[in-house]
Amino acid sequence: MLEFSLQARRRTLAIIVLLSLLALALFGRLLEIQILRQGELIARAEAEIRGLEKFPIRARRGHIYDAQGRPLALSKKSYTLWVDGPTFDGTPAAIAEVGRLCTAQPREILAEIMARKPITGTYCCAYFLDPTTVEGLQKAIENRELTGVTLLVEPKRYYPYGELVASTVGFVQRSNSPQTNLSGEFHGVSGIEASCDRWLYGEDGWVSGERDPWGDPIPIGEREEHPPTDGADITLTLDLNIQYVAYNRLVEAVQRWDARRGDIVILTPKTAAILALAVYPSADPNHPEDCAGAACQMALYGNPPVTLYYEPGSTMKILTIAIALEEHVVGPDTVLTYTTTTLCGIPVSNWNYQFYPEESLSEILLHSSNIGAALVGSRIPPKIYYRYLERLGLGRPTGVELTGEEERPFRRPSENGESDTGGPRWTCADQVANSYGQGIAVTPLQLASAIGAVANGGNLMQPHIVQAIGRNGVITPTVPVLRERIFHPETCRNVTEMLAAVGDTKGPDGGPLIPGYRVAVKTGTSKIPIPELGRYEEYRTIASAVLYAPADDPRFLILVRIESNAGTLWGEEAAIPVAASLAEFLITYLHIPPSTGTGGMP
């Protein structure tokens, strides 16, 4: 019993001694860390641990979809390569791989980095590297064959359909130079990317907390987080199938006629929802840095159907006649008789130099008579005529959700006789020329919107391309906006009937343009002004055509514009075939039944 007690005591003593030694060792270590090496360790921690600075958490940029939900703009995973001068080192093969990928820095800096000279600073060596490209580098970093090299994940905006929708969708660019190891902000430069940037971008969040040298948060450290709000997804009214067909037809036409450029607007007259905006030449928004020529720049940074003004030519006659009918200065059965071709002191001639002494309104549109349109236009009191053009939105931004729209006021009569626009004073000759679409500039979208008002029974709708905005599963649809009621339905019916009569003769053999369907059509061929010289180009023209169908209940309106390269291009030969071909496609695509009483289906 005594022995056992002694043994127990010894064991207890041994445990006590052991634990005491352990406690002593711990105490000693604490003494060393907390007191003896305090200053040194604090300095080292401050150097290693990133303080409580706020780190931005980038919001995910929203997607852009077409009307059928196909993504037109999304984000793609890419890497940015950073090299830290002082710590950069590795095996020769790994360093050679870095050298191969580094393209973003000047050669001299790159050479110094590659030679591993003692340079200070961290350099961004390459942007937007594809994940497959950096696989070798990632392995080298993991295997510690490379030091001082960081690969940061960065979203790259990707446009799956490239040049097909480049002008409309636009593109993004980094808004700040990446001086730190943070991804920069990407903002829209043109198109929907720019106009809807505030929705697409969302709201960045931030995180404040201690981080280790690799930038990872220290789990038991102090941490505060404000999560980002991801950008909203935008769904457009644009239908990619229609866009594809329109673009291809445009490319064919521009190449066939060796034209300089062209564009097409297709919208729904009742709501002014844009179904397609085709532009050629176009550019690839995935590589805006490769865009050098003027045509490419125009396609990528401007949106010609929305921003590029032109003199509309004979397509303007639709509006002149509609205004004249609405103001009752002529009736639908009026036949104009004239003996002179000089109006307001300027000689007016028809495109084919033919003279028709008597013409009905329908024949004016059928012959595309400049003299007839000028005479009708001259009958409208000037202030009323220009007030209508203003109300129809010509020369003014349409309000569509696309960037680049500008106001370009046209000359009009003023109270004091002075020019409103700072140019030459308005004269009645202006109204004569404006009546048949010369001397006045519009954008295709403005004209399509104005003619859409004639097609839909008199309502000027605001063109729109955004169908819905979706965020966190909540979808907010846009509502068509009625800007103004311009014409009475009776006026529109009469004008449409006249345009449908034109369509009935524009087929290949002088028959209907599209058998079985009543199609309202008007062509236009306009001269191109040289503002600096105050005259028109001698030969070059802009061929255009406006078409809406079915005439009695239009489901779509097409405006085609093709600008010739050197010679004269007529709307009849270049633009009408494109519009007709598109109308054929749209009739089948939208399942539009034949018009009654046209020889089609009963």
Binding site: I15, R70, S75, K77, P219, I220, T588, P594
Partner: protein, 132 residues
Amino acid sequence: MAVQTRHLRPIWQAKIRRAVLPRYFRLSGKAFFLLIVLAASLLALMALAQTGRVVAAGWQLRELEKKEQELLWEREELLRQIAEAASPAELERWAQEHGLEPVKPEELIFIPLPSEGLSQDKESGSSLAGKP
């Protein structure tokens, strides 16, 4: 040891109870030291385990965040694949491969539905809907 304390004031009752009842306070110096060391070790272990759990949860959180990011990137990649597979050019190529041709307006066949028949259908539909 029974001590009658009822006649005392409450404060004295408490003082006597504390002095008499918890016999474990009457440990020897060594045993008490051992107890303290054991208790401190236990507390240290508990704190270590807790810290370990926080660190593990932190790592798990980081891994989940990484996974979430990877899944978001995967979603983008799938969207890209959808975009390419559903592109009009791809559909056109597929249609041509299968010998399909674009329909012309005159080839469309519309079957007019008689309005009377439609109303009858509606009526019959509603009567059917009423059946159990």
